[in-house]
Symmetry: C2
Amino acid sequence: MNFDELLKRRTVRRFLQKEIPVEKLKKILEAARRASCARNAQRLRYIAAVSTQKVEEIFPHTAYAGSVSPRRNPVPGVTAPKAFIAVYGTEEPDNMLYADAGAAIQSMEFTAWEEGIGSCWIGSFSKEKVAAILGVEKSRLLFLVALGWKGEDPVMEDIPSGGSPKYFLDEKDVLHIPKYTVDALTKWV
Amino acid sequence: MNFDELLKRRTVRRFLQKEIPVEKLKKILEAARRASCARNAQRLRYIAAVSTQKVEEIFPHTAYAGSVSPRRNPVPGVTAPKAFIAVYGTEEPDNMLYADAGAAIQSMEFTAWEEGIGSCWIGSFSKEKVAAILGVEKSRLLFLVALGWKGEDPVMEDIPSGGSPKYFLDEKDVLHIPKYTVDALTKWV
């Protein structure tokens, strides 16, 4: 897939109930380790939660698509993620570590998509509960990425002048993601 | 270019002195607007500094590759960037906005690379000076991305057990970027 095509990737919150092969998860993590990071310090670490037990333990502590809640909450055994990758720091996070995490997660999302796997970057979860489940320090836990074979196809569209960035579900239960145009976002000097 | 190939992208700090067509910069910004962001709130904005005057004004306030300084400082008129994209927030930045910026910048870097354009994500610059040059609020200015046609080919390599992540220049003046392996970075549960 060329990168123009890959840029059509969108967040997925409905997953097929089919295992993700370990090699595909390793490929996704390979993208993370190659991502840009400040001073090449590589202060991010990963926990791949792949066992049914761990995935089921984590799931109730994660939240999805607040604006259309509860309509895009994955359903255990029906549309729930099949794996989570937790992203945490080797030290207490600063702004730059959050930026590093964004770069690593975006890279993982592209690789996943190219393999047919959908992802949902989760910032809204119980850090306390998930840190305890994974055995990491709560203050160093940054994000989760939920993963599974794609079970929906959200649609991106341009925001017209004066329009809203709020995402919505249409009458066919398709998620629409409005995005500002380059012209609306950019000044040239 | 498929994404596996694109993941070989590395930061570039030596640029050819050839203009970057505006369409290529627009394509790079298109990648930014499509990036993942928290709640689809789209709180990032961009200033594309492309005029010779603005690029030359910004350049002295940016820093490059501290560990091999000054050997990878671009030289004005010889290896300096031909454009900067400044990334700033519509509001005072929080951790999540830094993560959004990481995702957007990583996406821009991939698109640039696919077009033959190298990039250097810059966190080390005088926010005060650059904010004044660009007419944005210093506290909302997050990062700069330096851009130009690629004038070097840095090499990534795996860090052996017990090895250092410190990047270095070899005797042929090639930059080497050691990266931890997936096995070294990941726990599976």
